[in-house]
């Protein structure tokens, strides 16, 4: 029972990260009809950037964090201004799978390539924000301090997204621009501005999560790909458009992963999990919200 509890706690912590990334993917897909496959790389950049500035360059921690997040935001802004605006607004407007998959996927490669040059290939982590041993919850249950921070960040950011979309005018506008890009622009919604701002916000949010979480797992320059992939899969179970379901799916995947790793096999745990996830998609595609997620 103690093992089970600890596994569930660990699962919820990693799951909450997947959940937030899935929400980031889903919210931005709603605005732009592009799947952000680089979201995990922003987390990696956050973790390794702070580590580099504070450890190698000896900057104070708060300054390192601010500088790294500013760099992530600036990069996201420039990327949208240059690449995405060329891809979606000017030249020939791209449609379908090219824009859905390939631009951010290339971005992911690009960021990983830069990270390899800047940070090398070793495992690093940002300094712990709340140092110390893991806390005991009594009854043999433990939780790492960084885990508590991750959960707190997840609850705050997830809640803010939900409130924003549900209760503000610009949240509604975001929904509209995802439903019909041209229609939204005709009624005066600047879809490009929303696409840009949500992209930058989710990039910074991913960076924050990377900084907070990295003391638990450690990051290398290619760690982002796995996180993006899991976020993508979790978002898929919300039909890519439903942030609330994406959040639940992310949590469930995290817990499932921890339990399979703990009870089935550390080696084959992930393999079994992916098999279960694939089976779910195939068995109930409609219930999973896959219909009309992408139209050509």
């Amino acid at each position: 029972m103690m093992k089970f509890g600890n596994l569930v706690i660990a699962g919820i912590v990693t799951g909450s990260i997947y959940a937030v990334f899935a929400v980031c993917v889903a919210v931005w897909y709603r605005v732009s009809n592009i799947l952000n496959l680089a979201v995990g790389d922003f987390a990696m950049t956050g973790a390794l950037g702070v580590d580099y500035l504070s450890r190698v360059e000896n900057w104070p921690l708060p300054l390192s964090i601010l500088a790294t997040l500013a760099a992530v935001a600036a990069f996201g802004y420039c990327y949208d201004r240059v690449v995405l605006s060329l891809a979606q607004d000017r030249l020939r407007r791209h449609e379908g799978i090219v824009v859905t998959f390939f631009f951010t996927f290339a971005l992911s490669f690009f960021i990983e390539g830069i990270a390899q040059i800047l940070f090398g290939t070793n495992v690093h982590a940002a300094p712990a924000l709340w140092p110390g041993n893991s806390l005991s919850l009594g009854g043999g249950l433990n939780i790492e301090r960084a885990g508590i921070l991750v959960l707190a960040c997840a609850v705050i950011s997830g809640g803010m997204f939900a409130l924003y979309i549900r209760y503000t005018l610009s949240g509604k506008a975001i929904e509209a621009s995802g439903e019909n890009y041209l229609g939204a622009r005709i009624v005066g919604i600047d879809t490009r501005r929303y696409r840009r701002s949500i992209f930058v916000i989710t990039a910074v949010l991913a960076g924050i999560f990377g900084i907070v979480e990295s003391p638990i797992t450690g990051y290398t320059y290619i760690s982002g790909a796995v996180i993006s992939l899991t976020g993508f899969i979790a978002a898929a179970y919300g039909g890519f458009r439903n942030p609330a379901r994406a959040l639940l799916a992310g949590l469930a995947i995290g817990v499932l992963e921890a339990l399979l790793g703990g009870y089935v096999s550390a080696e084959y745990g992930d393999t079994v999990m992916y098999a279960i996830l694939a089976a779910l998609v195939l068995a109930r595609p409609r219930a999973m919200g896959f219909e009309s997620a992408v139209s050509n």
């Binding site: 060329l86 090219v98 490669f109 790909a225 992916y274 896959f290 992408v294």
Partner: protein
């Protein structure tokens, strides 16, 4: 007109399968033999190996838009399979290649029959798990060399000197690539190939044109997997080592990058893309260390310039060059370089549509004569052609159709009217098979078709148009109409390699275009047409197979006055031989064309009667005219 003759003889696009294959094999052999075992030579052999895989991907992902992330898995299966057969059974890798291909084909058939039930993004998500599962397995399987990989001893070509081995390996690789390119281009140029294009536009429309989408998707999955495993076997036999990284999402993505850099909708592009990416990554040490950065930048730039990749860029350049040459020739001939000097030809053709169309329809001069229908649709006696009984459709709590019953005889013109949201298109969907009803039955000539797929209903004689135009861009008007005349429900992709029946379908399509007076447009690419001409192409596509039941969803929307007149002329003639049901907002047109009108409101049938009764009905007036 000269262009049409060429089209009908099947030379639709420059470069048939043999030309493409010859080009690839010749260039490949020259390069491989010239560079021998130099470093450039081995990079090229590796690139050709990947090209074997990307060629299959061009057919599966590029043309048919079936995004399955399973190539690296089957490539790994081919490579590990060949290595195991070579190491443990002492089988030469060349002999192992066909064995692993067959094995992969069988596995793909098994896996594909589950996986390809999903479509669109669901297919992508379900198959993206495959490389993840495979990586997990491979990296912990000791007999495959775990997370490092598996060495083997058998070269593809056994010889005494390293030079001969390198040359032999290179030649075999190029020949394998040539084989794959030949098969792929044969398929794409055949009738089945045209179906794959249609599948790439939209699965629902494809099914409504009689294309057996589940079968084609499964065949594509098997084809792509077999090509990938061949690529894997060649990889094992030329590199003598199967790295564990050959399988997995990173490998999957590199393959996709090759495909998209080269141009996803071009066989040559798929080959060139593999060459370009592989050559660039072997070009210098800095590049091979920073390959992620280079690949990311490369694909971004190429896709920004042209979504069709290098092949698209080459096509644009070629078109520009041709236009430039033409302009120069005309300039030297003394003609002023008037922009759009080529326009009159197109405009004249479009004009001819209006004039010849009315005459053609009136006189029945085309080869698609109304009498042709007689043989296909014998009078069904007292059994009505279509019978809907108690059809309902609920979406959640919303009743879109509520116990609608209607009956149509074998011949005549019938109208379906109603305010927006009354359920007209949904009813058409239920009849056509794209929407499954919550309750009720649909009978065609007394046979219950409620559970049948759209493509099955198509072969029972149903044909339809959609509210929004769905045409195959990149193909000609003739081919777009020919899609519905393929009658290939029984032929497989393999049959497409052996024999193309596209020409027969094109002849039937040409007859339908003749009948509508649109022959002048036959050779035009569809996206260059105006919206009204595109609608007429869709209409031609619907009538070309001579359906017993023709379902038209707002056929007159967006048509000009002359085209509208022509449409009504054609519909009058068709109504003598077949049953036409049209949804239409233009009440004048409906009253003029049809002999019986049904009116839906909130999913209920509130009126049915003749045009005269329709005009006098109080219900109809309050509902549709607002009096």
């Amino acid at each position: 007109m000269a262009g049409l003759g060429r089209l009908i003889t099947g030379r639709a696009r420059p470069g048939g399968p043999l030309t493409t294959t010859g080009l690839v094999v010749l260039a490949g052999l020259v390069v491989v033999l010239a560079f021998g075992q130099q470093y450039a030579g081995s990079v090229l052999v590796l690139a050709f190996t990947y090209a074997i895989v990307t060629t299959g991907m061009a057919v599966q992902i590029g043309f048919s838009q079936q995004i399955a992330f399973s190539q690296s898995v089957f490539m790994g299966l081919g490579a590990y399979g060949a290595a195991l057969l070579n190491t443990h059974l002492n089988l030469p890798t060349l002999a192992a290649a066909p064995i692993v291909m067959v094995g992969s084909g069988l596995l793909a058939l098994l896996l594909g029959s589950v996986v390809t039930r999903a479509s669109g993004l669901a297919l992508a998500v379900a198959t993206i798990m495959l490389p993840l599962i495979a990586t997990g397995y491979v990296s912990s399987a000791g007999y495959l060399g775990g997370s490092v990989g598996m060495p083997l001893a058998g070269n593809l070509w056994q010889a005494n000197s390293p030079d001969l081995i390198a040359a032999g390996n290179g030649v075999i690789t190029v020949i394998a690539l040539g084989l794959v390119v030949f098969v792929a281009s044969r398929i794409l140029n055949s009738d089945v190939g045209l179906e794959l294009y249609a599948l790439g536009v939209d699965e629902r429309t494809a099914a409504s044109m009689g294309i057996s989408t589940p079968r084609r998707k499964l065949e594509l999955f098997v084809l792509g997997s077999m090509f990938a495993s061949l690529g894997g076997a060649v990889y094992a036999g030329t590199q003598l080592f199967v790295p564990a990284t050959l399988v997995g999402s990173a490998a999957e993505l590199s393959l996709l990058i090759m495909l998209f850099v080269g141009g996803r909708r071009s066989i040559i592009g798929a080959v060139v893309g593999a060459l370009a990416v592989e050559y660039v990554s072997g070009a210098s040490e800095w590049v091979s260390v920073n390959i992620l950065l280079v690949e990311g930048a490369l694909i971004t730039v190429v896709l920004l310039v042209d979504p069709e990749g290098l092949a698209g860029i080459a096509a644009t350049l070629r078109a520009g060059l041709r236009a430039g040459l033409q302009a120069r020739r005309q300039g030297s001939g003394g003609l002023a370089e008037v922009p759009g000097v080529r326009e009159p030809a197109g405009a004249a053709a479009a004009g001819a549509v209006g004039a010849a169309g009315a005459a053609g329809a009136a006189a029945g001069a085309g080869r698609l004569r109304v009498s042709d229908w007689e043989a296909v649709a014998p009078g069904a006696g007292d059994v009505p052609l279509l019978e809907c009984s108690g059809v309902s459709k609920d979406y959640g709590g919303l009743h879109v159709l509520d116990a609608v019953s209607l009956t149509l005889p074998a011949r005549g013109r019938y109208g379906l009217c109603g305010p927006n949201g009354a359920g007209k298109s949904t009813l058409l969907g239920v009849i056509g098979g794209t929407v499954s009803p919550s309750a009720g039955r649909v009978l065609l000539s007394g046979t219950d078709v409620t559970g049948l797929q759209p493509q099955q209903r198509f072969y029972l004689g149903m044909s339809r148009t959609f509210q929004a135009v769905h045409l195959i861009t990149g193909r000609t008007v003739l081919d777009n109409v020919a899609v519905s005349c393929l009658r290939s429900q029984r032929s497989s992709i393999a049959a497409g390699i052996a024999r193309s029946r596209l020409d027969e379908a094109r002849e039937r399509a040409a007859a339908a275009l003749d009948y509508l007076g649109m022959r002048g447009l036959a050779g035009r690419e569809v996206s260059s047409l105006t919206l009204e001409s595109q609608r007429m192409v869709e209409f031609a596509r619907a009538i070309a197979p001579r359906p017993r039941l023709l379902l038209l969803d707002e056929p007159a929307a967006g048509l000009s006055e002359p085209q509208r007149d022509r449409l009504s002329g054609v519909l009058h003639a068709l109504g003598e031989v077949t049953c036409v049901l049209l949804v239409e907002h233009d009440l004048g047109l409906v009253a003029q064309i049809t002999e019986r009108i049904f009116v839906l409101d909130y999913g209920r049938l509130v009126f049915q009667g003749s045009p005269a009764e329709f005009n006098d009905s109080a219900v109809v007036n309050s509902l549709l005219i607002g009096q």
